[in-house]
Symmetry: C2
Subunit: 377 residues, 2 copies
């Protein structure tokens, strides 16, 4: 056996030595040569996103969104990541920092072992999905940069197929909603409207007094009764709505199934859906799911969710929290493969630290930058 | 709107120009610069694989396996692919050539649009899964070479986790089986035994007279009755078998479910399973599925199947036909993520045209070559 091993091993050496056949690549061979000795270094810092407008949904209001910005450095290259922490989701800058302190990446010899690295990170503690996403995104950015490719390309997606993004009109008085719509509607091809309150119809009428553009509706669990929800959906369709998110409480899957069965519009799970393991449970209860990196622990699981959803005939939308262009650009790498994109989180803040995926004439435009496609401002 | 577009576009230009931040890369920038104008060129030729030993399964025998070898050339780089055509699966060299004549890759501007390219290829005609795989594999090899990375790395898998491969002892007289076992058992850590005939117990006893190594059993639908199959499985477990493939007819899912429910060993679907869309139907009827590139149209769908199977709690094995090291190395890229590997097809032929993934002390050893990891001999 010894001798056989020796022969095989030397043959392997020959094969490995032949790598340049694929074309010279500084970044590549550099990363390979150090793959066995290099160490990944994870750093992070809390940062507060300033919102351009007070942000209101069915059950909260705020003017800032706390985030934690991460970096993973390896072989002289830095990958950027982010955890966005809207208060109502339970994670805080403190809990993320606490989590990230436990992440020991130097146990891994190479950032390319993404499956194992991210499985390890996921096992460190329950939940903490945004903290986990901040590692996943930085790791994807790093690996993409090491291979000099944007992730949409590594996933085999055509960036020209990136869809329009919805732009969110927050809940407010009909007057303010009308003003916001007058200001923002011209820049987008589809508007997202947060409903789920008593004045839903007034809000829609205020918007319709300004624009006839298609509307994506997010009820944020705000409609108390399934029959009321279905009536609203029928009425909203007449008003030019094209899809609805989370009509009723996330726990009421039977009601959601009842609504989805009868709905003239596709019904998406948002609060009802967190991770890959939730998807099978939601079949039948919703037409599709809203994938958010901060809920599903990042890009790797998001890609798996997308493919699982397709395999079982469900639709997919990609959403976001209020985030910098870091997490938004990461999410946008997946956008050429989704049915709907709601990636306006970076457009709602005044102190973005990154430039990346842009919105041109209402459509997401992915650049050719490696990794998640961002530059630090 | 015009002015806004202009500003956005120029910003994008700036971002794109900034690409080198990720490290210089000849291969990469080369492929990007020509991504918009380059064309892919698909070529192919029939080739007959000479088998070292007459190959016998429950319902056929042969001494050669016809294949079609493919190449996709783009930007001066060539990706290798292969369609393996065991007679009992229905495709022939003629049918593959007929199919490949219809493939118009020059309609696509870049090989990186894998999702769209492979969706187009899949729609050209029903079935023809090996022909489709020959395009998928060559495209994966090409794209991997363009980005200077092996696919196990692009998939984030640790090559050190590649498992042992089973080595197949074909059906024959107990004497021949004993001779084959004496010859081959020392080189492998797990043997695959093709059963499904009247002398199954004799065959196992012949093997056991030579070696006590674990056995993977492939009944190839050969056990006529579910109770007989279950009795055999219990007996085989006592004989040191660790898993069973396709105990009864591929159409008898109820019997498979009955067997799987009671089986002391994991039961895998082979003939019952072809493609991603079959998987959900097999939940409950089998413990896992045997993914073969020639059945599922190639590497991209294989990766999706693996992730779907994991998401629904099913086990996965990766199998093969009699193939050159081209298709075997392509399949092996996935092997660090599977429960069992049966990738010995290239070890059974005497006129392999490629060198790639090797077997060292019974274990699959993936090299660092880009793409599917092969060199042309």
């Amino acid at each position: 056996m010894k001798r056989r091993s020796f022969i095989k091993t030397s043959t392997l050496a020959a094969l490995t030595a032949a790598v340049p056949m694929a074309g010279a690549s500084g970044g590549k061979s550099k990363s390979r040569s150090s793959a066995s000795k290099g160490k990944m270094k994870l750093t992070y810092r809390p940062y507060d996103l300033q919102l351009k407008h007070t942000f209101t949904i069915a059950n909260s209001s705020r003017t800032i969104t706390p985030v934690v910005l991460t970096e993973i450095e390896y072989d002289g290259i830095v990958g950027y990541g982010e955890a966005s922490l809207p208060p109502y989701l339970g994670e805080t800058q403190a809990s993320v920092v606490e989590f990230l302190k436990k992440v020991q990446l130097d146990a891994f010899s190479s950032p390319f072992e993404m499956e194992d690295i991210l499985a390890y990170v996921d096992k460190i503690a329950e939940n903490n999905t945004a903290a986990k996403a901040s590692v996943d995104i930085a790791l994807h950015d790093l690996v993409g940069k090491l291979v000099n490719q944007p992730w949409h390309r590594l996933w085999g997606l055509d960036p020209a197929k990136a869809p329009d993004t919805t732009f969110t009109i927050g809940i407010d008085t009909p007057e303010i909603v009308k003003q916001k719509t007058e200001q923002d509607a011209p820049l987008y091809n589809i508007l997202k409207v947060k409903l789920g309150r008593a004045n839903d119809r007034e809000i829609i009428e205020a918007i319709r007094s300004v624009t006839s553009k298609p509307l994506a509706i997010d009820a944020n669990q705000g409609w108390g009764d399934k029959r009321y929800a279905l009536d609203m959906i029928y009425w909203l369709k007449e008003q030019g709505a094209v899809m609805v998110e989370q009509p009723v409480s996330k726990h009421r899957l039977d009601d959601s199934a009842w609504i989805t069965e009868r709905s003239p519009l596709p019904v998406f799970a948002d609060e009802s859906f967190q991770r890959l393991t939730d998807l099978m449970r939601l079949r039948g209860a919703f037409t599709g799911v809203n994938i958010k990196l901060m809920k599903c622990t990042g890009m790797r699981e998001a890609w798996k969710i997308l493919n699982l959803a397709r395999a079982v005939g469900m639709k997919v939308m990609i959403g976001c929290m209020t985030e910098t262009s870091c997490a938004i650009s990461a999410a946008s790498q997946l956008s050429p493969a989704v049915d709907w994109a709601d990636l306006d989180g970076n457009l709602l803040i005044s102190n973005d630290l990154y430039r990346g995926t842009e919105v041109v004439d209402g459509r997401l435009v992915l650049n050719n930058l490696s990794g998640i496609g961002v530059l630090r401002n």
